[in-house]
Structure formats: structure tokens, C-alpha cells
Subunit: 88 residues, 2 copies
DNA sequence: CATGTCCGTGATACTAATACCGGTATAAGA
DNA sequence: TCTTATACCGGTATTAGTATCACGGACATG
């Protein structure tokens, strides 16, 4: 095993992560946010739908900047959910 | 061209990013930090040396947590360097 | 009603991230 | 000197992120 396949937990985290981003996007369109972040709309869609559960750091950084989000808060939110999931 | 190859700017940013992480690591060993972050030492080394210029978000998040860094500060530092590079 | 546009989606192509292995260099210690 | 530990480096294998293409649905417009 040379590259650890994504665990179900990681995928679940990715879904929560995408849900957070989608919620933060609000009523803005995907393309608008994608353009603002400098990524393709398809990539944004994959991230939001959780099909890209572990996106690149700078992709998220650009996205967070476009959405006015804090990276620390994003990570914290996912970490908390992770802990909750582990605790549950 | 379906996936944009990393631009020299992105690679340079990756090197700066790695340098930041290395500086934050201080005198601690790679393996210690890697274990604390839950990643392999090789991956940490690649990130620090800039050979993995666009690491995954959660990889960086775990690393930042292990190093006691702020993701926003990290992103800001790289963004500033980016702007400076663009302005220069 | 037909058509064009926009948004979201699925499939596909290709590069990059991650992990493991072996080898090398350097410094510390026995 | 020899061993050990740390870090660096190259190669390899596999999975995953990202971008383009093509399609379907919704909506406005002619």
C-alpha cells in the first residue's frame, strides 16, 4: 500500500467540508465563486459535493478568501465534527 | 491539457511554504512532527523542501496543528509573498 | 413552441500528492 | 573506526485532485 486510500472518515469529512463551503457560498452561483477563487466551477462543485474530499491547501485558501471564510475556522469545524464522529 | 501543470510560481510558493514550515519546526525532528501530524516523514520532507508544492488542505491543517501554526497566517504569508513576487 | 444560455452533473484525461524502498552524506557516540 | 541516527535524494506504485468535454434540466427570449 503506497498511498493510503481515503478512509470513509476522510470522505465523510470531505462531505461536511463541502457542505460548509456550500453554505458559505449562499445564493451566489458556483461559477462566480469559482472565478473569484481562480478555480474551475467543476472543481468547486466536486469540493462542495464531497467528491474531492482532500483538496489542495491553496485551492481551499483561495476559496476561503473568495468566500470570506477563515481557514482556521474551517479546519476547526471539520476537526470538531471529526472528534464528535469519533466520540459518537 | 486537462490538468494545469504546476506553474513555476506555484512551485516557488511551495518552496516558501516549505521554508515556513521548516522554520516553525525548529529543532524538532521530522519524524516527530510527522507523527504528530499523522503523515509520513517523507511527505513532510517533500512539503518542506517544496517538492510537494500544493499539498492537501487537511495535511497542512494537521501539520499546522502539530506545529501550533495558524492556517490563516500561513496562507497570508504565502499570499503576501505571492503579491510581492507579482509586484516585483 | 423553438432556441440559446446558464447552472449543475457525469465521464474522461492527465498531473500531482502520498507512501514505501533503497542508497548516500553528515554528525554524534561507543 | 564502526555504528547509529537524522536528513536528503531518487525511483516506484497507487490514489486523488483538477481541468476539459459532453449532456440534461431550468429559464428566459424570440
Amino acid at each position: 500500500m503506497v498511498r493510503t486510500p481515503l478512509t470513509p472518515e476522510e470522505r465523510a469529512r470531505g462531505e461536511r467540508f463541502g457542505a460548509l463551503l456550500r453554505a458559505a457560498r449562499g445564493d451566489r452561483s458556483m461559477v462566480e465563486v469559482a472565478v473569484a477563487a481562480g478555480i474551475s466551477a467543476e472543481t468547486l462543485r466536486k469540493i462542495e459535493t464531497g467528491r474531492a474530499p482532500t483538496p489542495a491547501f491553496f485551492t481551499i485558501a483561495a476559496l476561503a478568501a473568495a468566500l470570506g471564510l477563515s481557514l482556521d475556522e474551517l479546519a476547526s469545524a471539520c476537526a470538531e465534527a471529526e472528534v464528535s464522529a469519533s466520540a459518537a
